[in-house]
């Protein structure tokens, strides 16, 4: 069965120059195990298409049941030179929460 990520997780994203990180917070211990298994960096990169030009690295953060995705070359060169609306990548969290994963 598939669910949208927003059903089982919250997320917050932010910028550091051209790098955007998306912290994904599991809503339960069970959800965290599902995220660890299903929410791969490859899946995240594919979901963002050409918004993310570089690689996506995933860090597991067990003590707070979170996954942290660090996305390189993701902000059109960085907030102060970007032509995008969401210059700071604040809505990378929103877009990721729409992703459907298998549970």
């Amino acid at each position: 069965m598939k669910v949208r990520l927003i059903e089982i997780a919250a997320a917050r994203s932010g910028d550091k120059n051209d790098v955007c990180n998306i912290g994904v917070l599991a809503k339960s211990a069970e959800a965290y195990q599902i995220l660890k298994k299903q929410l791969t960096p490859e899946l995240v990169k594919a979901h963002f298409g050409n918004l993310i030009q570089g690689q996506v690295i995933r860090y597991e953060w067990d003590s707070i049941e979170a996954l942290n995705f660090v996305c390189f070359q993701a902000l059109d060169g960085g907030a102060s030179r970007s032509l995008r609306m969401d210059t700071l990548g604040k809505n990378f969290s929103s877009h990721l929460l729409r992703l459907e994963i298998e549970i």
């Binding site: 917050r12 550091k16 120059n17 994904v24 917070l25 953060w61 979170a66 995008r84 604040k90």
Partner: protein, 471 residues
């Protein structure tokens, strides 16, 4: 509580409301208030001010807080620590002192911290063999052809601790790294050793805890229910969101709370959510004073709006400090227009085609890049946005078009938009646009992050009564 200290978040960015901080000061809800004014691009904004007027270059909301927050803190014995000095901490001290003087406040001690600004030293650095390579791309700085707008090193907590030891009531620093504002306070209060190359593991862990607390405080309301998906639908008031207050103990553990009379909330979720914000490798969070392993942090709700945070581990500080160089890359101009049902989508497409044709015929060769975004469909997520079905698309009430171009000269920006004004009458029916929806010739800056050896950077603390900055 014995041997603890309370540090509150005051403002989370340049321009943030001081309302929550003023309430905390009024209620004596903290011993210290920190205000992190410097996001990555803030120094670029301050540089524009300084170019127009050399007495500027600091966060100008200090002028407002000098009328209310700063006197309130002084009256109630609360110390305010901020990097709002930006590119001109002395200019900030002078301005604040003038405003305090009008209110009869002369004895408040202001510490000015300098040494982070290395704009004038970049050539020397290169002459001495530093390539100043970009840490993201690896390219050497010698390949850069754009003018430099500013160059500031992220410095650590030592100067904050020193300034407090000298009795400062208000600290105006430049590019002190965000969480180091808090670490400096803690190092002073608990006498934690900083600037020591041979710290014990216990000593490193305390610094790591201090950085973690600083990280949780540096974005103001983001740790107390603001900007929260974890607490969505945010079943609490937002208009009076209380900012987080950390009660910190000698072992580096802390309990986060907020004033009971304020809105917002402090929960395990809001703390977790801020913990992940703008972190890369959580086991290796690099700061000037300590490298922090956040992967063992525990976050526990101990009571309503009371969350305990502990367990960060420290590793020795890095040999190099981060230097961020601002570059003037050119200009951007943008404009927004809306079209309504019927056929809002088709009208947008027709409009975009007309714009492209006008620019092509006008030979606007200065346009280096043009983007066309459809607000309501893909304005925020670009090509990654989920497509709307043809049925939804045909019934859309309204769709906006944002035209945005990058160009190297200001004439191109002005010409590009003048040339398409005619579409107000010649374009698809019902074009709705207001001149304020967009801006011509905004400065486009890029940031060049690099590393330099820490031994090249010395910070200086100057601490004096407000009246002494008036001359």
């Amino acid at each position: 509580m014995p041997n603890s200290v309370r540090i509150a978040a005051g403002q989370g960015f340049y321009g943030d409301s001081p309302r929550a901080a003023i309430t905390i000061a009024l209620q004596r809800g903290a011993d210290y208030i920190i205000h992190d004014a410097l996001a990555e691009l803030t120094l670029s904004i301050l540089q524009k001010d300084r170019q127009k007027d050399p007495s500027l270059g600091y966060a100008r909301d200090l002028e407002f807080t000098a009328y209310n927050l700063i006197p309130m803190c002084y009256k109630n014995g609360i110390k305010l620590v901020t990097n709002s000095g930006g590119l001109n901490p002395y200019g900030a001290a002078k301005k604040v002192s003038e405003i305090l003087n009008k209110q009869g406040i002369k004895d408040l001690k202001i510490a000015v911290i300098t040494g982070d600004d290395v704009f004038d030293r970049l050539n020397d650095f290169q002459a001495n063999g530093l390539t100043l390579s970009n840490i993201d791309t690896g390219k050497p700085f010698s390949e850069v052809n754009f003018p430099v707008t500013h160059a500031n090193v992220y410095v650590g907590a030592k100067s904050i601790a020193d300034a407090l030891a000298q009795g400062a009531d208000l600290i105006l620093a430049g590019r002190v790294a965000d969480p180091c504002l808090t670490l400096g306070i803690l190092a002073h209060h608990f006498n934690w050793a900083l600037d020591d190359e041979n710290l014990s593991q216990e000593g490193l862990n305390k610094l790591a805890c201090g950085i973690t607390i600083g990280h949780l405080l540096e974005c103001g309301g983001q740790a107390s229910g603001g900007n929260s998906y974890a607490e969505w639908p945010m079943d609490y008031p937002l208009h009076n969101l209380g900012y987080p207050i950390a009660t910190v103990f000698a072992d580096g553990s802390a309990v986060f709370s907020k004033l009971e009379i304020e809105g917002g909330c402090v929960t395990k979720n809001t703390i977790r959510e801020q913990l992940v914000y703008e972190i890369h490798d959580p086991s290796h969070y690099i700061t000037p004073d300590v490298v922090v392993d956040l992967t063992h942090v525990t976050v526990e709700e101990v009571a309503k709006n009371q969350v305990r945070v502990s367990g960060s581990l420290g590793k020795p500080r890095p040999e190099n400090l981060k230097l961020c160089i601002g570059l003037h890359e050119g200009f951007m101009s943008d404009m927004i227009a809306f079209f309504s049902w019927p056929c809002a989508y088709e009208k947008c497409q027709k409009f975009i085609q007309a714009v492209k044709d006008i620019w092509a015929n006008a030979g606007l060769s200065g346009i280096e890049r043009a983007e066309f975004q459809l607000l309501g469909l893909n304005g925020i997520h670009g090509e990654a946005a989920i497509s709307a079905s043809p049925e939804v698309l045909s019934e859309m009430n309204e769709i906006g078009v944002r035209l945005v171009i990058k160009h190297s000269d200001t004439k191109t920006g002005s010409m590009a938009f003048k040339s398409i004004v005619c579409l107000g009458l010649n374009g698809p029916p019902g074009l709705t646009a207001i001149p304020g929806w967009g801006k011509e010739n905004r400065t486009l800056l890029s940031l060049w992050p690099t590393l330099i050896p820490r031994k090249l950077v010395q910070t200086t603390v100057h601490c004096a009564k407000a009246s002494e900055y008036l001359q």
